[in-house]
């Protein structure tokens, strides 16, 4: 491509985005709690950091992040770490696959749940970038990527040994933090060396970015490689080289929020530290907040971790990971650990998953509850009445114990067995009802061949649940009466039933509330199996899942029940990883135990094409998909509805078409620009009597520009048009922000203004200033002003949040 054409394309795209805003990673939708979500670089196979910025955090109890890649039908849940005005988590690299990861966020407040981007809106997409084979053509010998190097040993060395013949090595350019240092570099065949000291230059003690630009023989940009490194004092490296290494960080914050005329003061502090001694690693985390309340589940967090290659022990708050059907994403306060000997391994956890919170009594009474309402039995000797009417039910203390012995290292083979027991403690509080108990037995298997290019995984689990253990186990008399009630002829085997009760009661409380009631129909059985093949640049995964309608594990309470079916996912890499084609087909059904009037079938297909050109052109991602949900009922032909028209609400018959297009373009035109434009359109046609048609169109333009080393700006434009059953909801949100470093980078100023117009009117403005007293001690002032327009009967109001925080690292 000649220079003028490339310049024209650059200019065209640049003008199209009119110096716009933010990166593709920044998403903003309507929410009363979430300001925006920031992601770290999303590269295939690498962990992605997620930060949810909050508008305010009054009465936020918990924030959960849900995500799934194209190969998964279910969303995985992560409980985010909440601190001050932000919540953070990490998407594991194994789940970061092309072309995107879908996600949404659920904020649990005292008033209920705030789902972001909304209940009727498709999940958002985080675009995943593919690794380029051209990255391997540049070898950064020094300083190594993400390494720390001492000031007196710093120099840059690059090897172009692997560079293609199309590259003119002499045209290579080197930039440090955006500054071109090529003229000071020495070119020696494959090696390029830059020693700043030779030119009287000194690099600062800080994190830096090294950028290498390769040009082809025509002078066109061939490829760009970036590498981050830190320059530190020699003493820091010496400390790191010692036998005992440690580092830590203290964050403290005090913040006042005046939201909807409710004034709240928050104070919190987090101390994190990690260290190592020889082959042992340690880490600790303490988070204390003024939000810790006795009437809520814990907000404080304490954890201590000790690990080596064969042992892992966690004390305090931890999220243990067992086979996903049994335990995943649940916080346990107690002890979690594992012994990893290779051929034999043992994972375990024991502790509390919810602490006791007493219910609230409205009044003490004598009458019985006849309608299953809010009246509970209480200790009459203690309270003077046999019953109480509650205005809110309490939460029992719930403990969990899980253990999983497994055999095999997990490279080619592993087989595991898992047992979980979880129970409410009926004596932990006085005012509540129906404490529960749950046991789960499961097994999992993994077989891999050819460096896991062929991988088979499977897991299965079965559970028992008791929905009310307040009365304890059956007495002999109660058991006899219970059996007699079922079938008096069974009484001849009473002794056998007593023996069975005695044996089973060692694991779970045995009384009339134990389930499943229909075990022959497998309602409490769940299983997954998947086969993956990775050959010829193609990744194929075929999986099957089965979840009985009553399958319950207290360790994994986010599973979708009553569903079975298969999913096929295929991804093909073409033209040296420049073009990716992927497709997903999923067919699921419910009503496995025939407990519903009709079986609903869920059919979903999705295809996408992603193009990451080697040349300096925009990346393109386009996808199209469809979801069909129907249960075969029809208002005109189904006997069920003809006989009883009130059941017409049971009809499910809708089709949702989805279209998505994104262009992303990072380029240099006078300055460095990162731009993207995305278009997302969904059309749900509901042919059921409810006729809940929804169309949604979202257009997002964003760009950030580094005008100088010290100053950068970002701008975004979001157009959202939604039609909910004929009711339009349209708005536009603009965002303009900037960041400026001054006083030798000791002071960082950051501000933004974000007005929304249309059916949703709001303006919020942010300003924060961070001052570094020392390299490891900083103070930050933050303020946010939100002008809410009157909406839905709620009068207009202004909110103000002012906070002061400090950060110290050691």
């Amino acid at each position: 491509m000649n220079y003028s054409l490339r310049t024209f394309l650059n200019l065209s795209f640049f003008l199209c985005l009119f110096l716009v805003a933010g990166s593709q990673d920044i998403q903003a939708q309507v929410s009363n709690t979430i300001s925006k979500i920031n992601f770290g670089p999303a590269k295939e196979g690498e962990d992605v950091s997620v930060e949810v910025e909050l508008l305010q955090n009054q009465q936020i109890n918990r924030i959960n992040f849900y995500y799934r890649n194209s190969a998964k039908s279910e969303f995985t849940e992560i409980e985010m770490e909440l601190m001050g005005m932000a919540a953070r988590c990490i998407i594991p690299g194994e789940d970061v696959t092309l072309p995107y990861v879908e996600y949404y966020v659920v904020v649990q407040t005292a008033q209920g749940e705030d789902v972001y981007p909304g209940l009727s809106v498709e999940p958002l997409k985080l675009i995943v970038q593919a690794g380029s084979p051209k990255d391997k053509e540049v070898i950064v010998m020094a300083p190594e990527k993400n390494s720390s190097v001492s000031l007196d040993e710093f120099f840059v060395s690059i090897s172009l040994l692997r560079a293609s013949d199309a590259v003119d090595k002499s045209k290579t350019k080197i930039f440090i933090d955006g500054a071109d240092v090529t003229e000071m570099a020495v070119f020696a065949d494959d090696i390029i060396i830059y020693v700043p000291e030779n030119f009287g230059k000194k690099i600062s003690l800080a994190g830096h970015n090294l950028r290498i630009e390769l040009y082809d023989t025509q002078g066109n940009l061939y490829h760009t490689v970036e590498s981050a490194f830190s320059v530190v004092q020699r003493e820091v490296l010496e400390l790191a080289a010692g036998a005992f290494k440690y580092r830590g960080e203290v964050n403290a914050e005090s913040r006042r929020e005046d939201v909807r005329s409710v004034d709240t003061w928050y104070n919190n502090m987090r101390i994190t530290s990690d260290g190592s001694f020889k082959n042992w690693n340690f880490s600790g985390n303490v988070y204390v907040t003024s939000e810790e309340k006795k009437h809520l589940q814990p907000n404080n967090r304490y954890s201590l971790n000790i690990r080596s290659s064969w042992l892992d022990l966690n004390f305090g708050d931890h999220n243990p990971r067992f086979p996903s059907l049994i335990m995943s994403g649940k916080r346990v306060r107690g002890v979690t650990g594992g012994l990893y000997l290779g051929y034999f391994n043992l994972d375990f956890t024991t502790g509390q998953v919810s602490r006791p919170i007493e219910g609230t009594v409205q009044n003490y009474i004598t009458i019985r509850d006849t309608i299953g309402g809010s009246i509970v039995e209480i200790d009459s000797a203690k309270y003077g009445f046999p019953r109480a009417s509650l205005s809110s039910f309490g939460t029992y203390e719930r403990d969990v114990f899980a253990i999983r012995p497994s055999f095999g290292k997990g490279q080619n083979f592993q087989w595991g067995l898992t047992y979980l027991h979880s129970s409410d403690d009926p004596k932990s509080i006085a005012f509540s009802a129906k404490p529960k108990e749950n046991i789960v037995l499961g097994t999992d298997l993994m077989i891999g061949f050819d460096d896991q290019k062929v991988l088979f995984t499977a897991q299965g689990a079965f559970n028992l649940i008791n929905n009310d253990i307040s009365g304890g186990n059956f007495t002999d008399a109660q058991l006899e009466s219970f059996i007699k009630g079922i079938d008096s002829t069974m009484l001849k085997d009473l002794d056998t039933y007593k023996s069975a009760r005695d044996l089973a009661s060692k694991f779970i409380t045995v009384n009339q509330f134990i389930g499943p009631l229909n075990p022959q129909e497998l309602p409490t059985v769940a299983g997954d199996a998947a086969l993956q093949l990775s050959y010829f640049n193609n990744f194929l995964k075929v999986s099957y899942q089965y979840r009985g309608n009553e399958y319950t594990s207290f360790g994994s309470s986010f599973l979708r029940n009553d569903v079975a079916g298969f999913t096929i996912y295929d991804r093909l890499r073409l033209f040296e990883n420049t073009l990716f084609l992927s497709g997903t087909f999923e067919s699921l059904s419910d009503n496995l135990q025939e407990t519903k009037f009709a079986t609903t079938n869920f059919t979903t297909w999705n295809t996408s094409i992603s193009y990451y050109p080697r040349t300096n052109l925009p990346n393109v991602i386009a996808s199209i998909g469809q979801s069909i949900t129907e249960n075969g009922l029809d208002t005109l032909t189904s006997a069920l509805i003809i006989n009883d028209p009130t059941k017409k609400s049971l009809v499910i018959n809708d089709v949702t078409d989805k279209y998505y297009l994104q262009l992303g373009y990072d380029f240099f035109f006078k300055y460095k620009h990162q731009t993207s434009v995305s278009f997302n359109y969904t059309d749900r046609q509901d042919d059921s009597p409810g006729d809940y048609d929804v169309t949604s169109l979202n257009l997002n333009l964003s760009a950030s520009t580094a005008w100088a080393e010290k100053f950068s700006s970002n701008f975004s434009f979001i157009l959202s048009q939604t039609d909910l059953k004929g009711t339009p909801f349209n708005y536009v949100t603009l965002s303009l922000g900037g960041r400026y470093y001054m006083m030798n980078d000791k002071l960082v100023l950051n501000s933004s203004i974000n007005p929304s117009f249309g059916d949703f009117k709001r303006v919020y403005a942010d300003f924060y200033a961070q001052y570094f007293w020392l390299r490891n001690l900083s103070l930050m002032f933050q303020t946010r002003f939100i002008a809410n327009s009157a909406s839905g009967g709620i009068p207009a109001s202004n909110d103000l949040i002012v906070g002061l925080s400090t950060r110290y690292t050691f």
């Binding site: 040993e153 060395s157 040994l161 494959d190 090696i191 060396i193 020699r234 036998a243």
Partner: protein, 227 residues
Amino acid sequence: MKKLLLVFTIIVSANLVFAGSVPVKDSPVAILMKTVKDVSFKRGDANWTPAKVGSTLNTSDEVKTGDQSIALIKFTDNSVIRVRENSSLKIYADKQKQSISKNTYVEKGTVGFNVSKQENEEFKFTTPTMVASIRGTEGFIGVLSDTSSILVVTQGLVNVLASLGLQQTGSVGAGQFAVATSNGSITISNLTPQLQNQANSIKKTVTKSITIRTNLFNMKIEYLVEE
């Protein structure tokens, strides 16, 4: 005299490895990434000179270290060798298009390695009594006082050949070590804790320094952190 002849034979053998290809003498194949205390290098017939960080190394260049000294050399394919104290080696490399094959002759001392090579490349170490073809990634090789050689492999696989006498061969896997003696025998055993610790220690190249400041001068003394 016998030892001299042996060294001569090994150097000739190492050169023969690259027979048929034409090494570009002036083309750098490696860089000195770090030097501690007494490290010097020699090019061709020139005298030994102190080595500086950032110096490029061509094929046939020699590097030696003194007491409590260390040199870290990185090849253009990002393979690393760590030359420990009182060691001496000579670098041979053959660069062809986008690949480079290396054969490092270790005359004495201990050299740690961390290999980053492609399938079509070779990484060999030659000692007076052993030729080791590195197929794996990490370990160290050393020449003992009686000219026998020791090879420790912590990751990957290495094929070894005793270059004298019996000329035995073998494969050394991760967690194993091999000793080749001057009679050409090779014994392969599992790593002892001491060798494992030595392998860990060899990977570390961080030093400490003391600066003495006087009215007349400032003196900086850098030394290796002993485990």
